[in-house]
Amino acid sequence: MKQIFSPAANTKIRLILWGAVFSVIALGTFGYWLARSNYITRVGIPAEQPVPFSHKHHVEGLGMDCRFCHTSVEKSSFAGIPSTATCMKCHNVIWKESPALEPVRESWRTGKPLNWQRVHDLPDHVYFNHSIHIAKGVSCTECHGQVNEMPLMYKKNTLHMEWCLQCHRHPETRLSPKEEAVNPHWEKPDNIKEMQKDLMTKYNVRTVQNCSACHR
């Protein structure tokens, strides 16, 4: 009778089994890596916007305060995106012919709002509140990076839950004095660790880790 299995059968089967195990691990690793890759998270990749607005120019060059445009950052969950009127306050005087600004002028003429691409987009089941973070001395740059150095806006951090939790577990590592929270130029002093420890007690900062703090 002929042999059913060839001499190589064992090897093949082993290869297939190990291959299966390996590919599951590889797939998992790949998935894990992909979900955190910049391609997916868009970290560091500027979004396409109707107007190539430069934070660098406005903040670094002209010295504007974050709150000039993001008016509700201290009051509300939403920091606020400036209305066309805010842009036009200056741009009906300067750069009023610039082709790059045509969408702004068009919005002003027609009354149709500008459609900006959202850069920092949390999932809809996450409720983030800007005002409380600013009030406790978590500065803009802590999450958004050095926006004053970004010609075009991009995400500095993944905004993944694991990233949020780093700070929610150890808020003492991210604090700055309240009055510096909206100052992108503030430089951490050498004694920052002690300072942050003091701020923890001074601002009565808690480690909020309940699910319902953000999910409801």
Partner: protein
Amino acid sequence: MNFDWVRKKLADKTGKNLWRSMEEIAETPEFMSYLKEEFPNGSAQTASPEARRDFLKLMGASLLLAAMPGCTQPKEKIVPYVKMPEEIVPGKPLFYATGMPFNRHVTGLLAESHMGRPTKLDGNPGHTDSLGATSLFHQAAILGLYDPDRSKVVLKSGQSSSLSAFLSVIEKKLAEWDANGGEGLRILTGTVTSPTFGDQMKQVLTRFPKAKWHRYDAIHIDEARRAQKAALGEFADSVYDFKKADVVFSLGSNFLINLPGSLRYAREFTSRRQAHKDKNMNRLYAVEAEPTLTGAAADHLLRAKVSKMIAVTESLAQRVGVNNVQPTSSVKLSKDEQHWLDIAAKDLRNAQGKSLVLAGEQLPARIQALVFAINEQLGNTGKTVSWIEPTEQDPVLHGVSLAELTADIRDKKVSDLFILGINPAYAAPGDLNFSDLLASVPFSVHHGLYNDETAAVCQWHIPATHFLEHFSDGRASDGTVTMIQPLINPLYDGVSEHELVSALLGKPGRSSEKIVRGYWKDKLGLDFDGAWRKALHDGLITGSAFTAKSFTVKTVWESGELNQSFTESEWEMTLRPDESVWDGQFANNGWLQELPKPLTKLTWDNAAHISPESAQKLEVQNGDMIEINNGLKKIEVPVWIIPGQTSGNISLALGYGRTLGGQIAKGLGFNAFTIQSAALHLWVPKISVRKTGATAKLASTQLHQNMEGRHQIRSASLDTFKKQPDFAHHLEHALPPASFYGAHKGSDDYAWGMAINLSSCIGCNACVVACNSENNIPIVGKDEVLNGREMHWVRIDHYYEGDIDTAESHQQPVMCMHCENAPCEPVCPVGATTHSDEGLNEMTYNRCIGTRYCANNCPYKVRRFNFLAYTDRDKHSEALKLMHNPDVTVRNRGIMEKCTFCVQRINQARITAKKEDRLIRDGEIKTACQTACPTTAIAFGNLKDKNSEVSKWKAQPLNYGLLNELNTQPRLTYLAKVKNPNPSLASEAAHDAHPAKHH
């Protein structure tokens, strides 16, 4: 079901006799299935082969979809303002005062607006008819605004047309009417309390002297008006003061629910029923033909058909000393009833000037007139009841007014008919055949929110604006002028009734703001702009309430002017506005349709309520169809057996059996208007009834989420409470030993807790709808309710006490208890339900994979599962998206959900407090149910603060937890109910004198 067996079983029970349904006592298979499983039909849905294939397809698709979000996040836009309105802070709601015209009055409301979208309506605390509370109708009105079925375009003979086309027709008509003085011009509206509209109508009638203004409100008060005219000489409204009333006697009046001003009355009435604060409790005697929530709150209840109620009133009048009352009724009262009345009358006489007698406004005029005299005799007039000028503009008898119009249409005297805001083709009494006649009017216009039965018969249909879309005004039950201001521009091409009537005055296109402002222009003093702004800000004109008037009550009962001869018949029938859809105007409101009605827990339907004794006589069970014949017309309706219903009286709710008016409205229930007569309104004195043999499927939630008789309701009489203040704990099992692991370590600052006062709760359902609105809770439809899948986070459990013929009712709102040892938490395999350090049992939707273990392990059965994607995403319901509360996640299918103690409000308050570097103050957080509650039966707050309201409640001996013996340590507890029965009516008071130990 064998009623006699149920009776016997109940009689054999020892101790407190509490039960939820007769099915429970009879242990029917249906009941047992609900007892054993939370969703008894849970898996039945995928049984058929098609469903299985769909399931596989969906599985494939959802696997794919599940993988998708892992790849890239969908791109989202930010759309800023072009010019930002000054007062808006993006992300923060604004609140505006407005008002809702409903049930012959306007209730002041506060509307929450998120960036221009109104999302929630609550009561205006400064308004006399609200005091910060709302009814279920006010809560549900926001869904009415965004209802995708609202009519959107002007229709001419059913074809879409335009407003300008309509206005040009009116322009031609104007010339005609100017020439003939408005001959044949008729305007038909509901009850109008708006001074502006009243003034506009005056102008119309001055300009066209031959025109006529007819009024018909399906729930009118003609009988009361007739009595006022006869006994007082003119129409007048009554205003009650329950704070001062020690003894209240209600003759068929559902004053806790149905009167204009009921929100205030309910608050005042229950404020006198807090035995733990004030031993001087009030006492309520009620006589009723059909069970109502007022009857359920009564200390003593007498069941009487309407024909007998006349005899009861006459007898009561004699007993309190009204002179020359000759009985006209041939109905004889039994010895027990005589005794009952003797005791009640004695109680009333002892409370001279501090008692109050009310008659249901639907009852025959003779009863009303006698009640005027009784109050006069008892010295109550001017104290607990006072007269004011009618809040209705130019009041008329509605039934008469509609009958006149009908006669004139028949005589071809009506050439142009405008019907504003009402739906008489559906809601007119059946004997008028109004719908058929309406079709014969040469030029007819319907103005309303829906393309309904009347719109279908009229030539023109003009879409109306919702009250949140226009300016208007109106009067509260005490006459206070209430301002109605828009929260949003009209969503569709509608006009308000002010604008429409303005067109009839030759001024089309005048905005509702201009019209209302114009009316008040010279009436608010020198600084008009300031006064107008203040009125809009406050939602009312301060000091505009009517002052009390005094009358001498004429002895009309002697002259026989109001005598109607009624004899008792075997079967009588009472009609009533439905507890959820009223006269049908809310029939397309899914929140209200799905709301389990008080007492029956029926959803999506109406049914003829009959007593167990009547059911035995007719040999029917729940859902069996009967034919009701009033001699002229007949209808077929299913029966629903209610323990405690008056035998021989069948009661049926109006508002169902709609044939048009929206996807939800049509085809539900049975139209009771068919057998209504214009003359007798809400009472049919003689009907014949027979069983047809057919059956209907009715969706009641009474059996759902049963906790299997473990003394959930604890109540006692005032006397018992005085002797044993801790009676509520006599029923308790011994608590299990304390936990091995010690108490949870929680936050030092906050421990959230709630308490519900059962002495205050009247079971009105406002909290349930408020919760729907605040928490984006979907509706599931009748079929899904039959599967036991309703989504309400709050349910109001209803218990009966006593035997099935004279059962008392108890109401108990039940929601998530936020147990400190929550049984749901350890069984979740993915940690989707967790405990916060402040004691909240949290539900993280995005983690939930839908195993439903938690619901299985919840002894309170308060968790709800999204079996299907109940929140519509089709194009048709696009408008509903605007309504969602942006602070609460909209849940997907396959997700478990439940009460969160309004965690979004807690978080909001916490952030505010943290920013101000302080702790959250007591009363700063109010849950949605608490805000809506008319009787302030709910307290919520911080248990760590011993001075908080909720801590004080929980320190009462009345405080008890549900299923305490399971050591779940619920954070929601109840204050046991204390009633105040008259010790002289011993038989009724005896049964709770000695609460039995648990057996």
